[in-house]
Symmetry: C2
DNA sequence: ATGAAAGCGCTAACAC
DNA sequence: GTGTTAGCGCTTTCAT
């Protein structure tokens, strides 16, 4: 690996001059500039970023924390963040946290030691104090960590209300909810939205809510329990698409026809939802946009850390597919 | 951020001594060691990795190139690589290349400038020469780039043969193939395996092979063409699961019942395959293991670059699900 | 057992 | 316009 010294020697200039043409700042004669560029080409010289970063105290790297990249919601988010940050010259570090606070803290330390310039976090477990210890900009994505952390989310509660109203509009009379883990802010909000719409209905019973986890299997189990106990249910609002897959499976196992006997709507809008049969009606988040916005916001904060904290909410959109149908 | 100097001052020793206790090498008195450790704790000191790396010429970072993390095959691979490398103290960089040689080269340069310690590559476009320019260890994963690059793959050809033989065993008489892009080595091998089994059958016609791309939509189109032209087809071997989704959709659109009228088997074993209806019979790759093995191999090469080049092949496994059934 | 000092490769004052 | 030099934070000879 050639160094700046080699280039300087070959071009018969000082390293300062080479540095000047490298960063195109300061005056440098056109002739000598050409000599330096020639030397750079001949030596296949690339500046050593580690040395640069040591001097500058930054690294041109950003990191994304997700619970688990294998959850199909996250790859699109990750892709968006990578695209945007790469376009701005950043290198993209991916961290799977499993929503484990110890892993998160370990990552935070490791990244700080590497002078990472900023972090985007999808987390339900991390605490504000551990974030404040490191002094790089952090953005919360998809889930709210604390109101004094800038964030990008969707209007989960309103979206949930809209989903439930949609089921009502197509004629569902008894609407249940398969909820997500309660410690996750966004699914908690989705349950709130569900309750907003149904808690005063004469038919509503607390047992119309079954709590699941972010996987189809658990959702299937809970749905089986629900539908066995409450065969009158004709509509289900599910906390997310992945769980929606389990709800569909449960209905199939119980020989309940979707959408004929039961309408199912979920939340997220992941690609999986249109691949399965029946395809899932859903309140779709603009997933890529969420990631892209978070990345843009982060980069802005890296350039100017004294921006005011904003909690940006993006709209969800109803996508009607095969799992819902108007009842007669 | 406290530096090693601050620690040294507080502990009344030189920076050399602090460094010694940090790296636990060289002699250092038990008493002074305790003083230093106390100072470290009091200052919340964490060594600056950038400075360390500048000195050592390495970075404790590894990178993974994938075409697109949104393709559901890759998140599991990425997860495995991240898990294994993190356990060894490495930071994980993810690069989406879109199988674009220019992006790949840009990444290669950027990573080299950051002194990345090693790279795992899933690529159909990259050339050996561009890899050899950078002198860090590189492992090819999932697809063979060149025989002088260490690699981890599955036995695609044998797996494909086994898939076709399985269709024959359950009584399929005319078996077609929806193939992947021809420039991708592994799907080319799968087509070879298909041909190995059927090219001498009296019923075989070259038009039983339709070439698709790595997405359900294109596979659906191709399958519609195929089944319209050749209604006698009663078995299809599909190059991968994602395309298998499209094949199932095509069959549904044409009112062809799977598995009653048509058996479908694909390749990969991604989670999606068991979520859809009918669930996909497939030749499953041990995806996580592939990634983990590649990561282990890479780390070994980082520690000792003079290992002999091996091309490791891992076995695939038939998983029978709902999309295939014995014909009567 | 510990310290002084050089140097990893680069950038930015500061001179001239 | 260009060169000299200090220094980013760390590790490692080389002395003592």
């Amino acid at each position: 690996m050639a160094t700046i010294k080699d280039v300087a020697k070959l071009a018969n200039v000082s390293t300062a001059t080479v540095s000047r043409v490298l960063n195109s700042n300061g005056y440098v004669n056109e002739k000598t500039k050409e000599r330096v560029e020639k030397a750079i080409r001949e030596l296949d010289y690339l500046p050593n970023d580690v040395a640069r970063n040591l001097f500058k105290g930054r690294s041109k790297m950003i990191a994304l924390f997700v619970p688990d990249i294998m959850n199909p919601f996250f790859p699109e988010l990750a892709r968006a963040v990578e695209d945007v940050t790469r376009d701005h010259g950043y290198t993209f570090i991916l961290c799977n946290t499993d929503d484990d606070i110890h892993k998160e803290i370990a990552y935070l330390n490791a990244l700080q030691q590497k002078s990472v310039d900023g972090i985007i976090i999808v987390s339900s477990t991390i605490t504000t104090s551990s974030i404040q210890k490191i002094k790089v900009p952090v953005i919360a994505l998809d889930r709210i960590v604390s109101s004094d952390l800038p964030s990008i989310t969707v209007n989960n509660r309103d979206g949930a209300r809209e989903a439930v109203r949609y089921l009502q509009a197509i004629g569902c009379k008894q609407i249940a909810h398969i909820s997500g883990p309660e410690e996750v802010s966004n699914t908690a909000l989705r349950m709130q939205g569900y309750l907003d719409e149904v808690k005063n209905e004469h038919w509503f019973k607390p047992s119309y809510i079954q709590q699941g986890e972010y996987n189809p299997d658990r959702a299937m189990e809970e749905t089986k329990k629900l539908l066995t106990k409450h065969p009158e249910i004709d509509g289900i609002f599910v906390a997310n698409d992945l769980m929606g897959v389990g709800v569909l499976k449960a209905a199939k196992a119980l020989h309940i026809k979707v959408p004929d006997d039961l309408s199912v709507i979920s939340f997220d809008g992941i690609a999986l939802g249109e691949m399965i049969t029946p395809s899932l009606t859903t309140m779709a988040q603009p997933i890529y946009d969420l990631g892209a916005r978070a990345a843009e916001m982060l980069i802005k904060r890296i350039k100017n850390p004294n921006q005011k904290i904003i909690n940006e909410e993006i709209e969800v959109e109803l996508i009607v597919r095969e799992s819902t149908r108007a009842r007669s």
